[in-house]
Structure formats: C-alpha cells, structure tokens
C-alpha cells in the first residue's frame, strides 16, 4: 500500500486514490483535425519508463482532486506530488 501525499490533504493511504495514467497528456483541441497516426499517439501511446514517471492520481475517496506525481517505477518512491496546472518538478537524470 503506497502512501501518497495529496497536495491538498497530505499523506494518505493508496486505498483512497485512483490512478490516472501518464500525466501531461493534453487532449488535442481539435481531434477531428488529427490524422489516424496522431490520434493513435494521443489515444494509446503512453510512456512506460523504468525510472521516473510523471503520472496522474485522483484523491477520489478524499478531496476528489486530480493531481500529478513523479514516481520512480523501480522503487515506487515518489519524488513529488503537485497540483494540476503546476509545473512538473525537475526529474533526476537517473
């Protein structure tokens, strides 16, 4: 059970959260202008790094907010969690 720091509520057990996949993927403003290839990238292609990963979580059974996090997928340790709209923190090079 991960302990996740909600930027609003503080540290809470994973039970209260829903995972939201890779962060910082904006839905195209005009989807109909996208060709199949680009739309595929938006729809299906997600980073799957072994290392630092920017991802979304939602404190669904808490304040209900989505927020972003940077987690190391090798250890599950979080570098940071931050509110939607805030800039992503500098990610260590390794």
């Amino acid at each position: 059970m991960l302990i996740i720091r909600c930027p609003y509520c503080g540290e809470r057990p994973e039970l209260e959260f829903a995972y939201g996949g890779q962060a910082h993927i904006a839905r195209p403003l005009q989807p109909s202008d996208q060709n199949d290839e680009d739309w595929n990238v938006y729809l299906n292609l997600r980073a799957n790094p072994k290392g630092w990963h920017s991802e979304r979580w939602r404190h669904i059974h808490g304040c209900a907010r989505f927020f972003n996090a940077v987690r190391d997928t090798r250890t599950d340790h979080f570098l940071a969690t931050y509110k939607m709209g805030e800039p992503a923190p500098e990610v260590p090079s390794t």
């Binding site: 059970m1 509520c9 503080g10 057990p13 039970l15 209260e16 304040c63 209900a64 907010r65």
Partner: protein
C-alpha cells in the same frame, strides 16, 4: 413539512455506535474566488483549510475538497435547501440537496478510535486527527465522511445503501473482546 420518522436503514444503536437523527444536508461547490460571496449568502463561513469544519448556529460546513463542502443542518427541514438556493441566486456555485443521500452514525466513547481503526486506515489519534477535522475516506469497502466532533466523538456520514454494511462492521468491532 419534514417528517422525523423517515425510515433509516440503521439500527437503534449500541453503547458506542448510535445513529444520528435526521439532518438536512447540502453539497456546495464553487471556485475559490467565490467562497466569500457564497459564505456571506448562506451565513456560514466555508472553511478554506483542508479537512477542517466550521460550526455556526446549528449549521456545520465540512471541507470535502477545495471546491466542495458538505453543509449539515441539525434542525432539518425539507425546504431548507431551496431557501438556501434562493439566497444563492446569481452566485457562481452549485448547491444540491443531499439530505437523503447519506445517513449519519456517531462513534463515541473511549474505544472510538480503536473501533474506527478496524476499518479505516487513517491515523485517528487526536494529534493527527484533531477535533474539527473532517475528511472523506474509506471504511473497509465503503466510502465515508469522517468528522471528529469531540475528543471521543466521531460523526460518520455514509451513503444510504452502504450504511448497513458499515454499521455491521462497526458493531462487530465494538463487540470484539
């Protein structure tokens, strides 16, 4: 006309776990920039601090999220939310009556923290969960709102259809030796 005899899914209660009588409830949602205006109109200051509550002349405002509050009215009336709604006319916010969406239980007494710890993963010690703190969280497989109203007093709100489940688990915890 509010009929206080409305059926509650909850049982009569036990030493540490008792149902809380009828309450009127509303959810208010608005942006941070409109909190003051909304607060003025409804006569209670919506708390801005995360997981904190405010109580004022029979009303309680519980912070559920940065744009969401649960307002409880201990003197229930069917018309209350529509009256509030009239007062909020023109304000940028959402007000929705949820009086019947959920029911409330009180968990109290010296074992209250222990009983809650059987199903809720939060730290209920007074330092970590002081009087006045409130939050949505999980109790076993049900979502609840947990609000500490006194050192040995918790007010627990749960959606109606989950109430029997939560109550039964709490009772079982209470009866454990």
């Amino acid at each position: 006309m509010f009929d206080p005899d409305v059926t509650s899914p909850l049982d009569d209660g036990s030493p540490a776990i008792t149902p809380v009588g009828p309450v009127s409830r509303a959810i208010i949602r608005c942006r941070a920039s409109d909190i003051d205006l909304v607060s003025n109109r409804i006569d209670i200051a919506l708390p801005r601090a995360a997981c904190r509550s405010v109580q004022d002349s029979g009303l309680s405002a519980l912070w559920l999220g940065p744009d969401e509050w649960l307002i409880l009215n201990a003197t229930p009336a069917d018309s209350w939310v529509s009256e509030l709604s009239a007062r909020l006319d023109g304000a940028l916010c959402s007000l929705v009556d949820v009086s019947h969406r959920q029911v409330a239980l009180s968990v109290h007494g010296p074992r209250a923290e222990d009983i809650l710890a059987t199903g809720c993963a939060l730290d209920h010690s007074i330092a970590a969960f002081p009087v006045g703190m409130c939050t949505r969280t999980m109790f076993a497989k049900a979502e609840i709102v947990l609000w500490r109203t006194g050192a040995a007093n918790f007010h627990l709100e749960v959606w109606r259809s989950f109430a029997r489940y939560v109550e039964a688990l709490l009772r079982e915890a209470e009866s454990e030796r």
